[in-house]
Assembly symmetry: C2
Homo-oligomer: 221 residues x 2
DNA sequence: TGTATTCGATCGAACGTTCGTTCGCCTTTT
DNA sequence: AAAAGGCGAACGAACGTTCGATCGAATACA
């Protein structure tokens, strides 16, 4: 029997199990779902959303084509789940690391390090998030936009505080500054492979140094 | 009679006309080709390469589906022509504007202004260039990679000279610096619309100021 | 405890659609 | 008369998705 549709767009299709659910059963379901999601992430990162066929995902995940639809309503929901999980975990990871850091300059360093660090351990997922932003439609799109907006607000807030405290230039457009930072970070997947050469820490440090110097300019510190 | 295949991948499929070619005939052919290319560029920028169907391109260009194939061997060649023309004209435009500018700092300002200015008047084309880099395969891919490499080398050369003359930090990875600049610029299509709000000059100036300050740091000027 | 039954999980096969591309024919221009 | 320019119609392949069946394990009942 196929499961019902979920209430919320960001849940996988299976309803809460009706029988007394054992940890093992739930774990098996989640493991399988993650295994599929991971295969899909890899394929979509490599070939792009449209060119990553459900048949290829099924093969890579070791499941039949029809079997995919026990776990996902549609290909688009699958992409949504990838993006939603990645963005959510990135944002919450950033929030955690910001706790206890009060200097906005240090906050920005933490933000950049967190992003680069997250990229280093989740390259494929973050690439899908950067590159397939417009592949979602309707509610799924709105939902991911909401989280991206959270990420923007978080970063923009830091830059605002830096601007208020350290920058008295008057010509600094903070939106432009924020988006240029996201440009640097979201373009990483095009050239940076942490598996050979530069360390994530090194790259993050240079990006942070560059961007901060760019913001602060001649305002010292 | 269908035209033969072109020798070089970056030409349109029609062979040099065998009859005595009049300016008008050639112009008509080129106009039609450009008109199709422009429609395709708009659709691919808006929906992405895979989702922009040849049928939609034909409709938008006011040509029949079959008529497209009089001008293009394939959809991929069409994308290639868009990217090739855009990259070529961007690079040659940059080379022109760099003539007579000897200070590398000013050269970098020119580079950024040129790119942002080009973006402002060719948003769709540059978006297709930024977003569909991996949609080409084989020789077409290699050919665009060659031009992109030219663009990189040009920019990297400027940054190298700035580094040699002004920066004595020793920790500056110039490849990282160059790619972070391309990140800022290639991400523009995600957030910047020159048609309302900020002027291209303003945005370019801020990006240049930020990036240069970021490079130069405490090294003054 | 043994047996019947439900149900989660999975699959092969197919359906309907859309896609890029081609063929053959027509019209217009030279 | 020949060539360039253009089109309707079709082809074959690939796609996302669904249907119906199967099978083992858990559950209910005897």
């Amino acid at each position: 029997m196929r499961p019902e549709k979920p209430e919320h767009a960001f849940e996988s299709p299976r309803p809460a199990p009706l029988h007394g659910l054992t940890d093992h059963a739930s774990t098996s379901y989640d493991e399988r779902l993650n295994q599929i999601l991971e295969a899909a992430t890899g394929l979509m990162a490599h070939a792009g959303y449209e060119r990553a066929s459900m048949r290829a995902v099924a093969k890579a995940a070791g499941v039949s084509l029809a079997g995919l639809y026990y776990y996902f309503d549609s290909k688009e929901k699958m992409l949504f789940l990838i993006q939603f999980r990645t963005f959510s975990s990135l944002v919450s990871s950033l929030r955690e690391k910001l706790l206890g850091v009060s200097d906005p300059i240090e906050q920005l360093r933490v933000m950049i390090r967190t992003h680069v660090g997250y990229f280093a351990t989740n390259m494929a997922a973050l690439k899908v998030c950067s590159h397939e932003l417009d592949s979602l439609t309707g509610d799924s799109y709105e939902e991911t936009r909401r989280i991206r907006r959270e990420y923007y607000d978080l970063t923009r807030g830091i830059i605002d505080r830096i601007g208020d405290v350290y920058v008295h230039d008057g010509t600094l457009d903070r939106h432009v500054a924020t988006m240029s930072l996201f440009g640097m970070l979201n373009w990483l997947y095009r050239w940076y492979d942490p598996r050979h050469g530069r360390s994530p820490t090194g790259v993050a440090n240079q990006l942070a140094a560059q961007f901060l110097q760019g913001l602060l300019g001649k305002s010292a510190i």
